[in-house]
């Protein structure tokens, strides 16, 4: 990363809310009709929206990836749309932010920041290349139908019934891995989609996630107990390699790394899951303590990429260690080459591909979950 982009990213991050505040004032001044509407014209709300945009801009500049900011703006546009907010308000608030940054940033930082906004606004003005987000679950497909039934039970607060649906499916013919991949994860993705479109509230999302965690614990226990009793074969022969899974500091979404940890365990790894929000130095200490061969690091948002980079740097500084590092999470999805630039050894989009790639990185060849 060049010094100039690093400086620009730092200034934007350090003073995000101040630049956002100036832009929010300007936006409401330029759009008095919005300022007159109490529901749309609240300064604090616009400042909060714009603070997110400045932080996303900082993340994109820090990663030298304009596409990250453009993708986040598209995402915000869809969220506006879903909540009956006007996307043209989002656009003009961004134009105000550009005006403020062009005026208020140190001269050395202006060109980079404004050019990122310009290219994001250009992309925002293009007709959408993908259709509006619809459900990915098809009731005609048997496992999708199970996922929908599971989701409905979880949303109704009937956790025991939700658990029964998944356990019954695994007792029938579904493998544990498929229970994750074809019921639990699609149900969670549907929750994310419904939240994005404004059809679900945060409490409901938490309700489903809590139920999913419960199911996963039961599945993990049953797999181990059944294998110990000789009722089922171990999914894979233990090979003595250790994987450590965690989300970076600031990322509180731990479900994905829990799934990954379980997949690695089922593939014969000694799998240690540290959960969410682990500071870089603590993670480095854990790599040594558990003698990890592989570190699986997750970042859910582009604004967490900087922390992922810091964590990787911290681990790389450990003396005499050859721990491989895999990254994943939606924070990396908008820029396909980003993982290389922050110093990771690989990037995985799915849990099963993470296990395959992880095995290759530590010299195990192929490793089927």
């Amino acid at each position: 990363m060049s010094e100039s982009t690093s400086f620009t990213a730092e200034i934007l991050e350090t003073s995000a809310s101040a630049y956002a505040g100036c832009a929010a004032h300007l936006f409401l001044e330029q759009n008095p009709e919005i300022a007159d509407e109490s529901s749309r014209g609240d300064l604090r709300t616009w400042k909060s929206h714009l603070t997110h945009r400045v932080l996303e801009l900082s993340a994109a500049v820090g990663a030298e990836e304009p596409a990250i900011f453009a993708a986040r703006l598209q995402w915000a546009g869809k969220a506006f749309d879903a909540r009956d907010m006007k996307t043209r308000d989002l656009r003009s608030s961004l134009a105000c932010l550009r005006e403020v940054l062009a005026e208020e940033l140190p001269e050395i930082a202006r060109e980079t920041a404004t050019s990122y906004i310009d290219s994001a606004l250009d992309a925002f003005d293009q007709p959408p290349s993908k259709p509006a987000m619809g459900s990915g679950l098809d009731p005609a497909n048997p496992t999708d139908r199970l996922a929908l039934q599971y989701l409905q039970a979880a949303l109704e607060g009937d956790s025991p019934h939700a658990v029964d649906i998944v356990i019954a499916a695994t007792e029938d013919s579904l493998s544990v891995q498929d229970a994750y991949l074809k019921i639990l994860l699609p149900a969670q993705q549907e929750v994310g989609r419904l939240w994005h479109t404004g059809d679900l509230r945060i409490a409901e999302e938490h309700l489903v996630t809590t139920t999913t965690e419960r199911v996963m614990s039961i599945l993990a226990y049953r797999s181990t107990a059944l294998a110990a009793a000789g009722s089922v074969a171990l999914p894979s022969t233990a090979h003595g390699k250790t994987v450590l899974s965690a989300t970076v500091a600031g990322n509180t979404h731990h479900l994905a790394v829990r799934v990954l940890a379980d997949f690695f365990e089922m593939a014969g790894w000694r799998s240690i899951c540290l959960g969410a929000n682990v500071p870089p130095s603590d993670l480095a200490t854990a790599v040594v303590y558990f003698d990890a061969d592989l570190l699986m690091l997750s970042a859910a948002l582009s604004t967490q990429i900087k922390m992922a980079r810091q964590t990787i740097e911290e681990v790389r500084q450990l003396p005499d260690r050859t721990t491989k590092i895999l990254v994943g999470g939606s924070g990396f999805n908008d820029a396909p080459e980003l993982w290389q630039r922050i110093g990771a050894d690989g990037h995985a989009l799915t849990a099963d591909s993470a296990v395959t790639l992880g095995a290759q990185l530590v010299g195990l060849g192929s490793s089927d979950p």
């Binding site: 400086f7 003073s15 140190p106 930082a109």
Partner: protein
């Protein structure tokens, strides 16, 4: 009881900011955040107004750092000037708003009274020269109070001196500066 020597802050943060050095902004916040907060809090009706003011002051610092000339002023002085100007702007802006309260107007009056001092650059340069001629302990106490925004109690702890002694040093030092200015004027 001897006073702890005050470390002269390394004078290059603003120059590094002006050159776009990564890390300089955070260092600047670490070093001058308390001073700016102290000023902002003094001239703001509430802590949340003070927080907003601090953020805006640092925007101005980032923007103007490249103009900093160490031959004309020290870093704390430069930042102090920016802070005071921005505080005056903020209070003037609030006064234009219909919901400005009487306390805001009183505060603006206070700030306006100080603005006369701020804009008198020549006088400030003379004062700066006069401060340099003070005894070390008096100079340290005054700098901690004016540049670093410390309370007398904080200065007493920092210099390991009784509170009354700190007050005496500051009063005597300021009297001497005033006398010198009157002599020159």
């Amino acid at each position: 009881m001897s006073a702890k020597p005050i470390e002269d802050p390394s004078p290059d943060i603003l120059a590094r900011l002006g050159e776009g050095d990564p890390g300089a902004a955070e260092e600047c916040l670490d070093r001058y955040g308390a001073m700016v907060w102290s000023l902002a809090r003094r001239f703001s009706p509430s802590p949340s107004d003070a927080e907003d003011a601090v953020q805006e002051i640092f925007l101005a610092v980032w923007k103007n750092a490249a103009r900093f000339d160490p031959a004309k002023a020290s870093e704390p002085t430069f930042i102090n000037m920016i802070a005071r100007r921005r505080l005056i702007d903020l209070h003037r802006h609030k006064q234009r708003r219909p919901e400005a309260t009487s306390s805001e107007l009183e505060l603006e009056t206070m700030v306006d009274q100080r603005s006369g001092e701020i804009e008198a650059r020549a006088e400030m340069r003379l004062a700066s020269r006069a401060i340099k001629d003070l005894r070390q302990v008096e100079r340290d106490a005054i700098l901690l109070s004016t540049y670093h925004g410390m309370s007398h109690r904080e200065i007493s702890q920092n210099m390991d001196l009784p509170l009354g002694t700190v007050k005496t040093y500051i009063r005597r030092g300021l009297n001497r500066v005033r006398e010198q200015l009157e002599t020159i004027g």
